[in-house]
Symmetry: C2
Subunit: 518 residues, 2 copies
């Protein structure tokens, strides 16, 4: 999965979660690879280069111990054939690949403010449009302190580390910053390292200027100007890139070009670009081919799809399975998804007993009241629908609060419909995973407010996520679509994903950055 | 107050509330002038023209009786020297002015759906950003029916009436449509009357495309395309006009020019314009000069501003008065306003006992749960602050749930600070009324999210309405500003309002429409 890149510049990566996290098993240090497609993609890139360092937060106690031992330097991590910390004085396995990782320990209070006051509630809520503005947010002295002494301070610490790594490489490096935790880093790094080539990728939606007015100018202007320290600010979709350029015009009064998607600042041109992130089809197929997945497929098929001759109701329509796989984040819109499914069963009672909805939901941020309330509401809605529509002793909705990737892949492969009805979702990779492994001509029922919709909307039934009736109609359309149409849409979606896989995502960015450099 | 207009075209006006509403006092028909600056301004225009008709909803039982008697025709209303219905067969007083009014009776169910399901909750909430998208809105079959059989049907009925009035004038007329109740009228009228010159004025904020995605395309596209039936779509601020043009580009894929603020549709050019509505300074000064206002001024001064020598605390700072006058609409942000005032008293305890906050709040839409909950929260917050900060037996906040314009004008004239901290507000005329009548060098503390801020922000302390701490600091700045600065800002704000009064608002529109015609 090595991306196609000619860059000879050293690479400095920054993300909050790193490629590896360490633990302890008695005397032995253990190492776990970071999860998610982003880590996989960037690891593929970093391993491929002769000089790359990955800056990240020291998350676990063992990470912190290692960061302290390293005294502000990076450590070497062997990534294959086996993940392990390379001790000082030894060299990594000749056959293996290795990577420099610099883990940053920050003041616990500052990190808490940065992470659980600013990044996750405030920035996440603004960028996903989750605030009910009548009552939230209420920004007080507490949020002001969390911004200044938390977000700004932590960003400054990471910017120092990034700048040091750039300076250690003679001041010229490709710097790739990731996501909403670090909007201020590019501005700081540019001041110290004007020769660096800076790119910042934002993995969540970017809303228009109205949404950012929730913050006072001293916060919102600082965030925008920090990002504009980059040469390229990158998003998953053109819509987000356009919103970003609007913000620079409307909130900062900068000169912009909405066709070229550029912003003029301090005599420089900043490019807003979009590169839709994707999945690694080969890796996904490898998971799908495991015995574990096969066992799940057998059980799920038996439970939801096997013919039910003993029911004595031969007129039953064929059994079908709707699947969703999400975190329990309010932005995923699980409650309205179930309301729409309930409406479908109300309006098409012949489907009750033959259509099942398997929801694999990973509990998320359960210490935040909005999130725990949301889980409670999910449970309440599911109980009502199941009480009303259970047939043949089988509940229509099977709600499982688990994170189990092999089970999810099994569900992907046998679902008739995948429901993704997010209010707002930077990309949504589930919508790209299903087409790669589905074997039942599964139909995507996909919210227009996901990044994935820009690529896959033409091969999906579009859902409008606030409209229960429209989503019920959309599910019905997906469930009753002729087989030939289903197969055609799935094949087209799969081809699109395979063509624009995660390696293509990275290569496109690097090509553009190479061009900028020239 | 006759606006400066050369137009020789007949005029057809449309607004939901009309210039007059009828009632009954025994055998006698009574007539009441519609309230608000809009009615006053448009009445001034209509009276001035030789051929003008005002189409509006028949609201009261007596309105409906008159509409039925008129059998689909307009009735003649004498507007001065005395407001009355001119009976058929008689002519209005020679000295008086008269106006044609056509009141429309619609099916009660359709009107209820149009008004209390679509216009006021859905459109109002979207345009003021009031939805907490995690749980609201939930669009069901009920909202679909209310849109199609309510909003669309009622708009169609009003469009028919407007088109008939245009056709009765040979198909050529100036048509001025008002506000969010009638987004579909221009499209329908244009089809029947291609020679008409159509203008639609929107008096509430217009948000960017993200906000409109709350509605499915069949609703949002229809609303936008309806508006684009106009030649001019007009707003209070350039920000709203720009958002509208963005929406046409992003949601409809139309060709737009963001500098010229134009939209190309069906081979025509539609102009998005902004004309900030204003007040009638002379009328306001006349109210301020009444005995009723003088009596209120005396009482309020005695209560809040008279020196309190008997208190035995001669070091007290001079007494000062903060005032707000608002409907209890969540968009007015009353709760955060009081929280900020409470924070001010917490951080500057020397102000408790000398600064009072008089809030005149007009209860609004109390049958809507969000609105009655909001009133309850206002009461809770006020009680807490008063319990904490009462001094010399006087509560810091005097919360009065009243609509009393003379009392409001008295408060305007003696306040030291006017607080307007709306989350979103199309214009906010209170911010324009205070500078005209204030006699204590009152300072405007004005939200950046009001339309008024585009004109008056330079002469005000700007409030960022989600930030309690910033608003507390803003109130402190306004209360402690040197007298010379206060006087200078107030004079500049007053000059701006007098220069751009409501007559100028109307003249600017008519000038542009005349130019378009040429």
């Amino acid at each position: 999965m090595a991306p196609n890149v000619d860059s000879e510049l050293p690479l400095v990566l920054l993300s909050h979660r790193g490629p590896v996290s360490f633990g302890r098993d008695g005397d032995r240090r253990t190492a776990t690879k970071g999860s998610g497609g982003l880590v996989t993609a960037l690891l593929g890139l970093a391993e491929h280069l002769s000089d790359a360092v990955w800056v990240c937060a020291a998350s676990s106690d063992e990470d912190i111990a290692i960061a302290r031992e390293a005294e502000g330097r990076s450590v070497q991590v062997q990534t294959s054939p086996q993940l392990l910390l390379v001790d000082e004085g030894t060299t990594p396995d000749d056959e293996g690949r290795a990577l420099e990782v610099r883990m940053i320990e920050t003041d616990p209070w500052a990190h808490e403010a940065f992470y659980t006051v600013v990044s996750n509630p405030i920035l996440w809520f603004i960028q996903h449009g989750l605030y009910g503005l009548t009552f939230a947010p209420v920004l007080t002295a507490n949020e002001h302190a969390a911004f200044t002494d938390g977000y700004v301070a932590v960003n400054s610490a990471f910017a120092d580390a990034v700048a040091e790594e750039v300076e250690a490489r003679g001041g010229r490096a490709l710097v790739m910053l990731q996501d909403y935790h670090f909007y201020l880093v590019a501005g700081d790094v540019r001041k110290r390292c004007p020769e660096a080539l800076l790119s910042h990728f934002i993995h969540i939606p970017w809303p228009g200027p109205d949404s950012w007015r929730v913050l006072p100018p001293y916060m919102r202007d600082k965030l925008l100007l920090g990002l504009l320290g980059s040469d390229v600010v990158a998003f998953h979709t053109e819509r987000y890139a356009r919103n970003f350029v609007h913000c620079c015009s409307e909130l900062l009064g900068l000169r912009v070009d909405l066709d070229a998607l550029t912003v003029e600042v301090d005599g420089r041109t900043v490019y807003a670009r979009h590169y839709p992130i994707s999945v690694d089809p080969a890796a996904l197929e490898a998971v799908a081919a495991t015995d574990e997945v096969a066992a799940h497929v057998a059980t799920l098929t038996d439970t939801y799809l096997a013919s039910r001759e003993e029911s004595g109701e031969p007129e039953d329509p064929p059994r079908r399975l709707v699947v969703r796989v999400d975190r329990t984040d309010p932005s995923k819109n699980v409650v309205r998804g179930f309301l729409a499914f309930g409406q479908l069963l109300d309006q098409h009672p012949e489907l009750a007993g033959s259509v099942s909805f398997l929801a694999l939901l990973q509990p998320s941020r359960t210490d935040v009241p909005e999130y725990s309330d949301y889980i409670a509401t999910i449970g309440a809605v599911v109980a009502e629908i199941n009480a009303k529509h259970t047939r043949h002793g089988q509940q229509p909705i099977d709600l499982r609060m688990v994170e189990d990737f092999p089970l999810a892949v099994a569900a992907y492969s046998i679902c008739d419909v995948l429901m993704v009805n997010a209010l707002a979702d930077g990309m949504n990779l589930v919508a790209k995973e299903v087409p790669v492994v589905n074997e039942r001509s599964g139909v995507l029922a996909l919210s227009e407010n996901t990044g994935a919709h820009e690529e896959l909307g033409a091969f999906a039934v579009t859902l409008y996520p606030f409209d229960i009736q429209q989503m019920a109609d959309g599910l019905y359309e997906a469930l009753t679509m002729p087989q030939a149409d289903r197969a055609r849409l799935l094949a087209a979606a799969a081809a699109q994903v395979r063509e624009n896989d995660v390696s293509a995502w990275l290569s496109a960015q690097l090509r553009d950055l190479d061009r900028l450099r020239g």
